[in-house]
């Protein structure tokens, strides 16, 4: 961090896990002054009380528009914030929007000091969405497995098949109809509900 002290960074994120991942990354990189805000009530006054140099906010957060207000000169705004990047940094904006995060510098902090923070932020956000995707996939795979088990049971009972035969029937139907086995299994469950 050199001779300059660590800038104070506020993370505004309603997802506690993602905020923790980001905070950990920042601390590992030597940014020791990191505060998380997960409560959106009176966001502006909380930020003024903290008086951060950098504010990071996730893009799923409607409160982002509240931060835009800090560009303004008005009674509600005590210390105007600067734009986080200039025209030459369009690539940074693109990368951060893609990752789902936005950063604001509060008056005074040098732009080049933001760049490593933003880069770190982007990689942590991307890592988080990858994690989330994997989790979602694992969840839906588990769901599929449950549905397939139940569909197999119905086929075994109604058509007198063995478990293997029931599975082969599901799989060949799915291939013929160009659908996932899970979808075919789900339609069997739906049909059997209807025919009860």
């Amino acid at each position: 961090m050199g001779a300059e002290s660590s800038p104070k960074i506020a993370i505004v994120d309603e997802s506690p896990i993602r905020a923790a991942i980001l905070e950990e990354g920042l601390r590992e990189a030597g940014y020791t002054d990191v505060v998380r805000i997960d409560e959106m009530q009176s966001l502006l006054s909380r930020i003024y009380a903290l008086d951060p140099d950098v504010i990071l906010i996730d893009l799923e957060n409607p409160s982002r528009d509240i931060l835009e207000q800090m560009f303004q000169v008005s009674r509600a705004v005590r210390r105007p914030i600067a734009m986080f990047v200039d025209q030459s940094d369009a690539a940074s904006i693109q990368a951060s929007v893609d990752a789902g995060v936005s950063a604001y510098i509060v008056d005074g902090l040098k732009k080049e000091r933001l760049k490593p923070i933003l880069d770190l932020c982007i990689s942590r956000f991307n890592a988080f969405s990858k994690l989330q995707d994997e989790l979602d996939r694992a969840k839906s795979a588990l769901e599929d497995r449950k549905v397939i088990e139940r569909a197999k049971g119905i086929l075994m009972k109604l058509k007198g098949l063995t478990e293997d035969e029931a599975y082969v029937l599901l799989r060949s139907t799915a291939m013929r109809e160009k659908k996932k086995i899970g979808e075919i299994a789900q339609s069997i469950l739906t049909a059997s509900e209807l025919l009860k």
């Binding site: 009530q41 009176s42 957060n61 409160s63 528009d65 835009e68 560009f71 009674r75 929007v97």
Partner: protein
């Protein structure tokens, strides 16, 4: 050939024409395969449009001007080929503020001059008693809501930067903030005013049409570069949205439109609340008082869809008036060039035909706005009314 488009929107009733264009097949008829993407903040809509994640967007009328001038964020030239609606906002105040204003009022409560004067007296009394200044919510720094509130207050005179607090609040937070007393009033679009009234915590003081006869509210915005490269697709998009706007305004279609908009993937509020907005017949007080105004929200009627450069100039003048930027005639010209009636006309095969002059803005107070004489406009503003 089908063009695939991603269009961003915020769940508000004035996204109706876009939603109806998709749901009623107007987009498909024009060969457009549109995916509407619901967003949570205007900053997101702006950024995703500017960097090309969206091809087009439902956006606050001042934002494309701010982007084109590089105000508040990076500079990206944006153009407006169609206005999605004129008017459609309302000012809602808490029952306590309403009572205080009605105690002070001298004149017709529907007259914004009378209410602005009453507000000024309430503000003065609070100051004398050492009370906290009143706080008003609006949706974005570059929003009609911000400018309409300020225009109204300044007539009082109330200085919006000195005498009260103006705070940005995302529309879905507006009602809760009024209920909890964080704000005393707000200016927002539908359905949020009606929801505050239904919850018994707010009273609609004015429709925005009381303050201005014609105020561009949400627009369809695209990047200038995109418009140049995709002129046929743009023309198709303008036609599809315009036809959907006409469809939405046919009284017999309102029930169907309200049901579509009510879906949770669109606006997700009760269809009956949406219907009131489409009819311009709003419940303004918890006691059930109804007020009707044909100008409450205009989509296609009275040439509302045609982008009007005078509207763009007026919005730019408000940015100057409230110190979001400083006056330059070059920027004024650039702002006017954002609103493109010729792109709108071209979509309907009217190329090179002269346009009838747009109807007047019809502001309830202040000097008549003439973009040819913008210095005169500022000279005619009351003292303390901004730009100091």
């Amino acid at each position: 050939m089908t063009a695939q488009l991603q269009i961003g929107f915020i769940p508000l009733i004035d996204a109706a024409a876009l939603i109806v264009a998709v749901e009623k097949g107007f987009m498909r008829t024009e060969g457009l395969d549109v995916q509407l993407v619901r967003e949570v903040s205007w900053s997101n809509v702006r950024d995703k449009l500017n960097i090309g994640l969206f091809d087009a967007a439902h956006i606050l009328a001042p934002v494309p001007i701010a982007s084109s001038l590089g105000l508040g964020h990076i500079k990206v030239p944006i153009v407006v080929p169609l206005t999605l609606n004129l008017n459609g906002n309302a000012i809602t105040v808490s029952p306590a503020l309403h009572a205080a204003m009605m105690h002070e009022i001298d004149g017709d409560p529907l007259d914004p001059m009378a209410t602005a004067r009453a507000l000024s007296r309430v503000v003065a009394a609070r100051r004398k008693n050492g009370g906290e200044p009143l706080t008003f919510g609006m949706t974005f720094p570059f929003s009609t809501h911000n400018y309409l509130l300020r225009l109204w207050m300044a007539a009082g005179p109330v200085d919006p930067d000195e005498d009260v607090r103006m705070v940005v609040l995302p529309p879905p937070f507006m009602v809760d903030s009024l209920a909890s007393g964080q704000v005393d009033g707000f200016c927002v679009g539908a359905p949020w005013n009606s929801i505050a009234v239904d919850r018994g915590i707010g009273r609609i003081l004015h429709f925005s049409s009381d303050i201005m006869q014609r105020a561009a509210e949400k627009v369809l915005a695209v990047r200038q570069q995109w418009a140049e490269k995709n002129s046929q697709t743009l023309a198709s998009l303008v036609r599809a949205v315009f036809r959907a706007a006409e469809f939405t305004e046919v009284p017999d279609n309102r029930n169907e439109v309200a049901r579509i908009l009510a879906r949770t993937d669109y606006i997700g509020v009760d269809a009956s609340v949406i219907l009131r907005t489409l009819e311009g017949r709003l419940k303004i007080a918890a006691d059930g008082t109804i007020r009707e105004d044909g100008r409450y929200m205009m989509l296609a009627r009275e040439d509302a869809s045609a982008p009007d450069p005078v509207q763009a100039a007026w919005l730019y003048a408000q940015m100057v008036r409230w110190r979001q930027t400083t006056l330059s005639l070059e920027a004024l010209k650039a702002a006017q060039d954002v609103f493109r009636p010729e792109l709108y006309d071209a979509a309907f095969g009217r190329i090179g035909e002269p346009r009838a002059p747009a109807k007047a803005i019809g502001s309830f107070a202040g000097p008549i706005f003439d973009p040819q004489n913008i210095e005169g406009y500022f000279a005619g503003l009351p003292a303390g009314g901004g730009r100091g």
